[in-house]
Symmetry: C2
Subunit: 287 residues, 2 copies
């Protein structure tokens, strides 16, 4: 394969985000039963084949499936010209809107935001213009303590304000502090996706404390010079970034096909950062 085709599906607060789209991604999506109709946002890190040659075919398939909804594509400048040319030479088109968000900033920027989720770019250091992506959940509302609201006979009409953290004043004038009526919501989760990139500490503040960091590890330390030359990282370097950023867990992937034994990557990363795991085809990770 051309390198090792990369694609990830992120299921976050009502969104299915597709991150990168190497050749054959649509086959994998079918295999793992991802609903095509739920994909509305695709984030492309850079325009190397193993990260985006599956995109034209996926767009064609959306068309065949009768899609009508907008499809948002985030990727480096040039992605629009490439996709539109491929459609044009085939005298093809889409009956759904293709909304391109072309990226060219070299500083982190917010590229998607709604009430529940925010997506920022993580500028990376590779042979071509490349961005990683930081996916952050926003704070959720507090959880209602149903037992407590029943005890105080509080009407449904007040639930919305209570979940926002407000105290409750009963008809009797008695004030019930919010803490008695609600539970803390789960902490918002943060996922950082960093591929492809050379070792580069400038991104550390941005990804600090992330719940999960995916970081490419194309090579082992024995090929550290080759990694630097080709704009890639070693497993040890990926682990260094994880350690410096104090993330909770590290997922490494994008291994060069030159290595038969992937466990060497885990061993190398694990020495620096124990909470490391290998990205594998079809692997599902709960954060």
């Amino acid at each position: 394969m051309n390198g090792n085709p990369t694609s990830q599906v992120l299921d976050i607060r009502d969104h299915i985000f597709l991150i990168d789209c190497g050749e054959g991604t649509q086959v994998q999506l079918r295999k793992y039963r991802v609903k095509f109709s739920r994909i509305n946002h695709i984030f492309i890190s850079h325009l190397h084949g193993d990260h985006f040659f599956g995109l034209p075919g996926l767009i064609s398939t959306f068309q065949l499936l009768g899609r009508e909804k907008e499809l948002h594509l985030y990727g480096p400048e040039g992605i629009k010209e490439a996709i539109l040319l491929l459609l044009r030479v085939g005298n093809s088109w889409t009956s759904f809107p293709l909304v391109f968000h072309e990226l060219k900033e070299t500083e982190p920027e917010v590229i998607f935001e709604d009430a529940k989720v925010k997506v920022m770019t993580i500028p990376l250091k590779h042979r071509v213009y490349t961005n990683g992506f930081l996916f952050s959940e926003k704070h959720r509302e507090r959880g209602l303590n149903m037992e407590a609201v029943a005890r105080y006979r509080i009407d449904k009409a007040y639930f919305k304000n209570i979940k926002k953290g407000k105290d409750m004043v009963l008809g009797t004038g008695e004030k019930i502090p919010n803490a008695e009526l609600t539970f803390d919501p789960p902490d918002p989760k943060v996922y950082a996706y960093c591929s492809d990139t050379a070792y580069d500490e400038t991104k550390v503040p941005l990804i600090e404390g992330a719940d999960l960091l995916y970081h490419e590890a194309t090579f082992l330390t024995s090929e550290e010079q080759l990694a630097a030359k080709t704009g890639h990282s070693t497993a040890a370097q990926a682990a260094q970034i994880a350690k410096k950023a104090g993330v909770k867990r590290l997922l490494i992937g994008h291994f060069s096909t030159r290595y038969k034994d992937k466990t060497l990557f885990l061993e190398e990363a694990g020495e620096v950062f124990p909470a490391a795991e290998l990205a594998e085809d079809g692997k599902v990770i709960e954060v």
Copy 2:
């Protein structure tokens, strides 16, 4: 998948020709152990995704494998712009020459020829400019009857002329007719590839008597109108073409994914042309 990705490998007289290159072709090539280094000529019928979205990735893989030999690409005008743009947006290049043979004729033309093989276009009727391809072996030399040449004690130096069909005059003045010294060579084989196309009899004279015809059969007769509308054929129509052209065998494929039971295609074609077979993933056919 976007339609049904198509790719065929033709092993003909020292050449490995790749015909069309849908997404995922390189995965299939690896699966069936086709040597990438033996592929020097790729023929693309038309620029719909299911016939060429695997080409950019295959070219990238050739680059990764350190290819240095020329790669010849035959396909509709526009293929060069598309491939070069995809390389350019990724800041990529090939260290081997990419030789584009862009096609725009609407009459059959010879696009490849050497001492052993000739390739002609078969203009097809589809929604975009499309060519099928006619692969013809040239006549082989006559086979040497080793027993006979030994009996007459004929020196090796004469073998070349004998295989060309010449008679032999011995030192004694005795003339040995060529027929005594040689066997008839196998008949040169002809393979006609026709995808994608609406029903169109104009190609019949061109493919007449072919040893094997691959003809698309996207639909069944029940969807004949849809076939006409989308520039495709039914299984019965593919069989009609085979019958009219008097080919020896028919291979049908490119079935719409709407049909679960592929044997219906075989039944429908078989009623018109009994020597019909289904094209299937990884199927190997000896001609």
